[in-house]
Symmetry: C2
């Protein structure tokens, strides 16, 4: 197949490198700044530097841009895309874009299947992209009414490049779970490192500091967009979290050892039940 | 030297294994339940199964028990300890025990140097102890007025068994930093996994879920004691955290993208400034 990847940052670059490393598909890389596309070509991550016109030959198009930028790109260039070919994205939120993406697919005659590769790093850009970024990770598909055949085609490619779990979800299910599994830890990490104690942690810290603070090294522009486009589920999870922290604070302030132990034990039990 | 380790759980067991693996000291293991001491002997983690009477021959005694249990043990058996020998502990809080520990040392004529090995796992007991648990970790010493010579002796042993950083601190400095670096992440992890979304995270989660939830697999009894004995600094850090999370929630609710981006960017800058 011809596979076009648009946006050669960490996710797009990793798609290209993984597709080149683990499949025989022909990879077309499209990027706004030509230097990055040239770098990708020189690195052997793509077979061909493309333009929007190249989408006429693509069997699968993968948009690896900020969520709204995906919609904007298709508004502008959707007419160039091969009829009945598959278009997917890599956006971390789905309710905010899936309806528009589906409407655009209907307008232009290609097939839209939403997806979200659950992988990343604390750094951005083609320079940190990695053929093994997706190894063992989850690949969430939001079919949004696409035919099974298209979903299967995308799943197969995802398996080939190393994803460990393929999960189908509605945009609502996706966004609700992502609010908890991904967005909440990012909010927490940023809030955590804003303590005045943080700059002095060296020598007093171990794994728990490292782990909870890791994703504070955030792309503020991207994550602001992701948070705002997933406002309700995220605020709901944050309210639950504040409530749970407040219960623990209450038990500490009241020096209620029994209640405090019971709250912590609940946390322990959740992890035990998950076998983690 | 003869080094006695009292309490052969994950920390005590790791001390024994590391001392056997990386030094030539003679290791005496003392444990309440004899089965664990026998297991340690059979595993070659100790040279000798001891009793409190063995402390008459120990040059260094390391107490690896719950904080108050260290004080109770010395109240009961302190008279058996060799004069001018060094006694240390491994407790994760220091203000709550250092004054009593120092008073007991003066009463019985040995030297107390507080310490806190910044290492652990999400599992407990001798079975998960590890000769390399301390590799590269921080070793915090609260000298509490002990002579430099004793501090140096303890530092040297800590270096020999793999600790990467030796940090001196007052009990107050220790407890304030530990509230931030270690206790706060444990509160957070427990509060986080209490979301009703948690049991369904599989397939929707990646590194950020794994990292922030890791230490929720907590020893509720131990950590309740640690939290309550460090109430003021911990509550202060928790209040700062709640305030920082609330600011982020406020920006999301108000859909104030500029403010939200600025808050996240602050987090990013803290990590960047630390080179993390």
């Amino acid at each position: 197949m011809n596979i076009a990847v648009i946006g050669l940052g960490i996710i797009g670059g990793s798609y290209c490198k993984a597709l080149k490393a683990y499949t025989n598909h022909h990879i077309i890389g499209i990027n706004r700044t030509p230097e990055t596309a040239q770098k990708a070509k020189a690195a052997g991550a793509i077979d061909e530097i493309g333009t929007p016109e190249s989408l006429q030959t693509a069997d699968i198009t993968i948009l690896c841009m900020y969520p709204q930028a995906c919609v904007d790109f298709l508004e502008q260039h959707g007419a160039l895309i091969q009829k009945n070919s598959i278009v997917t994205d890599a956006a971390g939120i789905k309710r905010a874009i899936c309806p528009q993406m589906t409407a655009l697919a209907e307008r232009f005659g290609y097939i839209y299947v939403g997806s979200h590769p659950m992988a990343g790093k604390e750094k951005n850009g083609f320079g940190v992209s990695d053929a093994d970024l997706f190894r063992g990770a989850s690949f969430i598909i939001t079919p949004c009414g696409a035919p099974y055949e298209a979903v299967n085609t995308l799943s197969t490619v995802a398996r080939e490049i190393g994803f460990g779990t393929i999960k189908l979800a509605t945009p609502e299910e996706h966004d609700r779970m992502i609010a908890f599994t991904s967005q909440l830890p990012h909010v927490l990490a940023c809030a955590y490192v804003l303590s005045p104690s943080c700059p002095n942690h060296r020598g007093f810290s171990a794994g728990s500091y490292r782990d909870v603070s890791r994703v504070a090294n955030i792309n503020a522009k991207l994550w602001s967009e992701l948070f705002l486009e997933n406002k309700e589920p995220l605020v709901e999870e944050l309210d639950i979290l504040i409530d749970n922290i407040s219960q623990i604070i209450g038990a500490i302030k009241a020096e209620d050892k029994e209640k405090l132990t019971a709250l912590l034990e609940q946390g322990h039990q959740v992890k035990q039940a998950l076998g983690e």
